[in-house]
């Protein structure tokens, strides 16, 4: 096979692959700025930041964020503790049992999250009844159950991370500490823990992220305390609007920023360690071959931060100087005109029909207006098209999005939709 053809082929494949991977995110980010009621990029109506504003006013979202943090914190503590204990145990367990033990602690990763959620629910409900406690007890508290359910498998991940570090630990150090007079607790605190600290930090971050984004298990256990992920899922299933895109964009930016920050911190640490030992380290090696201006080399997080600040300033600047209200008003005026024109056309049609059949056989309902496209799901309930002539129909809110929950709706047409037109599953 021709080498250069192969090379080109590889690049094309990679390009398509990364487009598949990153494309959706890019597009979603763009929709956050489109004033259209349903997230889309075409047709582009007006540039607006209103969706971000609405995002911050959404009570449920904010509540969800709070719960996510609380549950995340709880899960981190429990998972890291269990993971560390299990990792220490793994190194000490008698070899005959080791394979079984390992299988048991790795199993939660393979068990479907749904199953974990259900089993947690069923089991603790049973204990609850067994102890005679009512439905308000701590054991049926959504936060408790979610932390327990998530920790079951997140501890496995933590354990893997910790074991990797633990294997490089020299048990002689613990013995030396003991020999010099330390109690077991002191030896643990002063010798083992400092050694494990980087791994513990990694495990904690891992645990928090895994807990934050968990859905399959949490969806059964959350009780009265929905997490942000749960709220998001509800919104996505029942009420899509671009405030979700806005949230997504924020999360993407935060993620990218922290990823770069984490990367930069690791590299700086590596450089410092190398410098301490006097080994010559080329910036080129450490920067992974990315060529950046001197000042910023080795620190893409700084680059990211700079870009981000520029972006924020631009955004805020344009936001204050530019108001989308005029644009939106114009767009709505256009839509209204288009709607009126269509009504006119229909009236004319009806006139012509009436002229041809005096019986008035037809009923207005028989007319199927082109009230815009619809998603396949809404075929199931025709109620969305019940109000044929209501101009509100013609705003084109297909796929059943509800009108925005607050005053950001500048169309003035109000909530015309029956909740049953929601995109189904």
């Amino acid at each position: 096979m021709n080498q250069s053809a192969l090379r080109i082929g590889i690049w094309v494949y990679l390009a398509i692959f990364f487009a598949y991977l990153l494309g959706p995110l890019a597009i979603m980010s763009v929709t956050a700025f489109n004033s259209s009621e349903f997230p889309r990029t075409t047709p582009w109506e007006c540039l607006t930041f209103d969706w971000f504003v609405e995002l911050f006013r959404d009570e449920r979202i904010l509540n969800g964020i709070k719960n996510s943090f609380i549950i995340g914190a709880g899960t981190v503590v429990l998972s890291v503790a269990m993971g560390l204990a299990a990792a220490l145990m793994l190194t000490q367990i008698w070899p005959r049992l080791r394979a079984t033990y390992y299988t048991v602690v790795i199993a939660p990763i393979l068990i479907p999250g749904v199953v974990l959620g259900i089993s947690t629910l069923v089991f603790w409900d049973r204990i609850n009844r067994f102890l005679g406690l009512g439905p308000d007890s701590f054991l049926s508290n959504g936060i408790f159950l979610t932390v327990i359910g998530q920790s079951t498998f997140i501890a496995s991940y933590c354990m893997l991370v910790l074991v990797a570090r633990l294997q490089r630990y020299d048990m002689g150090q613990t013995e030396a500490a003991l020999d010099l007079g330390a109690t077991h607790a002191q030896a643990f605190r002063k010798v083992l823990l400092p050694f494990m600290r980087p791994a513990i930090a990694s495990a904690a971050v891992l645990a928090f992220l895994a807990s934050f984004e968990n859905y399959n298990t949490t969806t059964f256990t959350f009780g009265q305390y929905p997490t942000l992920t749960i709220e998001l899922a509800q919104k996505v299933r029942y009420g899509i609007n671009p405030s979700i895109s806005a949230l997504a964009l924020i999360i993407v930016l935060l993620t990218v920023f922290f990823a770069l920050l984490h990367d930069a911190t690791q590299r700086r640490r590596a450089m410092a360690a190398a410098a301490r030992l006097g080994a010559p380290v080329t910036v080129r090696e450490v920067a992974g071959g990315i060529r950046l201006p001197r000042v910023l080399s080795g620190n893409p997080a700084a680059v990211g931060l700079v870009i981000f600040l520029i972006g924020v300033i631009t955004v805020v600047g344009t936001a204050t100087a530019y108001s989308p209200a005029a644009c939106i008003a114009r767009v709505d005026a256009e839509k209204r005109e288009a709607a009126e024109r269509r009504i006119e056309d229909l009236r004319r049609q009806r006139e012509e029909e009436r002229e041809r059949n005096f019986d008035g056989v037809f009923a207005p309902e028989k007319l199927t207006p082109d009230s815009g496209e619809d998603a396949g799901a809404t075929d199931d309930n025709g109620s969305g098209f019940g109000n044929v002539f209501d101009p509100g129909n013609l705003q084109g809110e297909e796929e059943g999005a509800t009108a925005p929950e607050d005053d950001a709706d500048t169309s003035g047409f109000g909530n015309v939709f029956d909740p049953n037109t929601l995109t189904g599953d």
Binding site: D170, G172, Q173, E175, A176, A177, L178, D179, L180, G181, A182, T183, Q186, K190, V191, P194, F195, R276, L277
Partner: protein
Amino acid sequence: MMSAGVGVDLEDLWIRFGDFVAVRDANVDIRGGDFFSFLGPSGCGKTTILRAVSGFLEPSDGRVLIGGRDMKGIGPNKRPTALIFQNLALFPLMKVWENIAFALEIRGASAGERRKRADELLEMVALTGQGDKLPAELSGGQKQRVAIARALCAEPDVLLLDEPLSALDLKLRQHMRTELREIQQRVGITFIYITHDQGEALTMSDRIAVMRAGVIDQIGNGREIYNEPATAFAASFVGENNVFRGTVKEVRGAEAVIDTNRSGTLLATVSPANRDKMKPGDKAMLFIRPEAFSIAETGTSGDHFVTARVTNEEFEGNVFNIFMEGEGGKELKVSLPNLGQSFESHLGAPMTLAYDVQNAVIVPHGDLATE
């Protein structure tokens, strides 16, 4: 002020791991203030004994007494011992001075006190000014000394050292031998040292225990071990030795006559440990050191003469080594001191060697050291 003169006693000590016997009926009396070595090949159980003394291992039978107190059930952190590990086990994330002052940190001393004490100890081990470095930045010998300082900071009654010099190169090893001995004498506490290097054991120790496969063959000072080995193993492990196998023909008090397999009848001294235990008819081994031979007139025969043919000659600087082959293929090595005399080569020719009966030792038949 560190206490000097705390002794360690092992009484009827047995240590088993499942079916495997690591230490068999050890009885050792270590005097306070001594530099005591356990000498033996790898796997002979010396590390096991060390771990039993330091508290990481409970004996299966018998007792460990330190300063007369039974140490049963007392954990390593409560025993008056400090262990220097073979790989040193310095704390990599702590600075040198923090490593050294660790024992004080455990007891809750203030940072100022700890730093002061660490500096004192650094001076004692000749590492002044290195306190702020990390262990990774030190050389092998320096790390060794930090380990010693750290152990001394705990003010132990007994210092245990697990083959501390084995990882160092030759020159450093020899230098450290002298240093360790000096430190011990200066500080005055009991040192228990384990090694497989008999040179170290002989030069540094007040007394030595020779060990093999869990059994202690002999305890004594360097000269006793070297000149009067109690077993074939001790005789062959420590220093070089020529061995003659045979049967006891006659016992005359402290001396005995052996019918050797290939070198005729020879007279020698029974080592003190075996006197009154050997009888005619016992299988025995006769050991004569290479330096114990002198050249006699060729052809002389008698109960302290051996004749053989020279196969190889070597000049090693301080000695002349002569390799010989006797009847039936018996191999011999003779070392003559280089006193500036002219050396005549007898390569290929027969030569008769004489030895002083005091320098020839008879022990019961046993396993030789396989090095």
